[in-house]
């Protein structure tokens, strides 16, 4: 690599291949983050949360597989990470309404975690819907419609997951140990 790519073209002019490539980056990035959180909660001995993110990642992988099947004949273009258009806030991004460390730690309420994941996936849906409305190329528009469907299906599954979790939710116990000093 001798140069950095330039700014991406106008979103409205995306080809079907570009649409699929962008969508796969959107989904894969979410999956990677869920896997990161799975291993993170695993490392903090919160097996329930780890397992939950494992399940959310699995739902994401199903969506990714479905979207990959929409791939047009031509090879997908390679998107530099910074050319990715449909960015959403991180699941556990710090937010002003959570001014305390007690709102984000290793003993997170499980339902809250699902809600945060849903928030991210709703954001993803919004990005896809916007792209669908803006798309000028008919084929791209058609593929985006299918992708939106897949994303909605994913949200339905996450909703179901949230309902199940809420039914069994217990209040997380207080963390009786202060932060550790490993080094």
């Amino acid at each position: 690599m001798s140069h950095m790519p330039t700014q991406p073209g106008a979103p409205s002019a995306m080809t079907p291949a570009e649409v699929v490539a962008q969508a796969l980056e959107l989904i894969q990035d979410s999956i990677s983050r869920y896997e990161q959180l799975q291993s993170c909660f695993n490392a903090h001995n919160n097996e329930t949360a780890a397992e939950l993110f494992g399940r959310i990642a699995a739902i994401g992988r199903a969506t990714a597989a479905a979207v990959a099947r929409l791939q047009p004949a031509e090879a997908l273009p390679r998107i530099a990470p910074w050319e990715f258009l449909w960015r959403c806030p991180d699941v556990l991004a710090p937010r002003p309404e959570q001014p305390s460390s007690e709102d984000c730690h290793h003993q997170f309420a499980i339902a809250e975690l699902v809600r945060l994941a849903l928030e991210r996936e709703h954001c993803a849906l919004t990005r896809l819907q916007d792209a669908h409305q803006q798309a000028h190329i008919a084929a791209s528009r058609a593929i985006l419609a299918r992708i939106v469907e897949q994303q909605q299906q994913q949200l339905t599954e996450l909703d179901a997951l949230l309902a199940a979790v809420r039914a069994n939710e217990a209040t997380p116990p207080d963390d009786l140990d202060p932060p550790n000093r490993p080094e």
Partner: protein
């Protein structure tokens, strides 16, 4: 967009199987993502990458990559990486660490790495707190931050200004990124890796455990750096006066050959013959 074949390695392929010890919500996860995205994009073979760190939460990063790594001494990541890069210029050498490691105990090495201008990519995950030792003030902690029992009245001294100091010390590439936007950050990291000299990437990477009070609004606070990439001396006052510490982007980029590190001198092809000649000097 650039149409090429599917890359052989994806970002996740650069991860090892070791689970990060970072807290949920830690900004460093975003840096890890950005770094793996950049490496995959640049198609660097895993074995040709060495990630060097010191001590601290962020310095745990090398083990989370399936590359060569060295988790060394607190504050000494830059010299360790310098030795490696000088001895092995064929490698891509990335240095990762935190604000305490890089700006406090390793502060002198930071200055001289900027001067020396060896081809390193130095990523500092700045959360303005010592996380691993449980929440003490760091060089970038505001003077009035009173939540550490070690400095109950606040550290009381002005913050270290990493970008301005790097510029004054002669760094030829300075960028600031935000861990909450791994895609955007990956561009800065990729550019830093490609920069053929010392490249400093200052990453605002919030600590959800010890600094939730005043870092939760970083996402709203960051903004594109407007006075981009000036390479002349004006950039120094620009960074000092205009920069609010939250401007994201490439802050400075200069020709790294303007000052250069150790030169490659052509060696004698036959090492034994060279030593024989050196020994002959010792005779009459």
């Amino acid at each position: 967009m650039t149409a090429t074949t599917t890359p052989t390695l994806r970002a996740r392929d650069y991860l090892s199987d070791i689970k990060p010890i970072w807290c949920p919500g830690c900004g460093h996860f975003g840096v890890l993502s950005a770094l793996t995205k950049a490496l995959a994009y640049l198609e660097r073979p895993k074995e040709d990458i060495a990630v060097i760190s010191g001590i601290g939460c962020s310095s745990r990063l090398p083990a989370y990559l399936d590359c060569y790594g060295f988790h060394g001494l607190h504050g000494r990541a830059l010299p360790l990486a310098t030795g490696l890069k000088v001895a092995r210029p064929d490698l891509t050498v990335i240095v990762a660490g935190g604000d305490g490691d890089g700006f406090s105990i390793g502060g002198n090495h930071f200055l001289h790495a900027c001067r020396r201008n060896i081809d390193l990519c130095y990523i500092v995950m700045d959360n303005a707190v010592y996380g691993m030792t449980k929440g003490q003030a760091s060089p970038t902690t505001p003077p009035d931050w009173t939540r550490s029992p070690l400095t109950p009245n606040g550290p009381g001294i002005p913050v270290f200004r990493p970008a301005a100091i790097a510029l004054a010390a002669g760094a030829s590439f300075i960028a600031r990124g935000f861990s909450g936007d791994p895609h955007g950050l990956s561009e800065l990291v990729a550019r830093a890796i490609l920069h053929p000299g010392f490249a400093f990437v200052h990453v605002l990477s919030p600590c959800r455990t010890f600094r939730p009070d005043d870092q939760s609004d970083w996402k709203q606070g960051v903004h594109p750096f407007t006075d981009r990439a000036r390479s002349d001396a004006e950039a120094v006052p620009a960074l000092r006066v205009d920069d609010d510490g939250m401007g994201i982007g490439v802050l400075h980029e200069a020709d790294p050959t303007a000052h250069s590190g150790p030169k490659d001198t052509p060696a004698d092809t036959d090492r034994a013959a060279a030593i024989d000649r050196i020994e002959a000097e010792l005779e009459v």
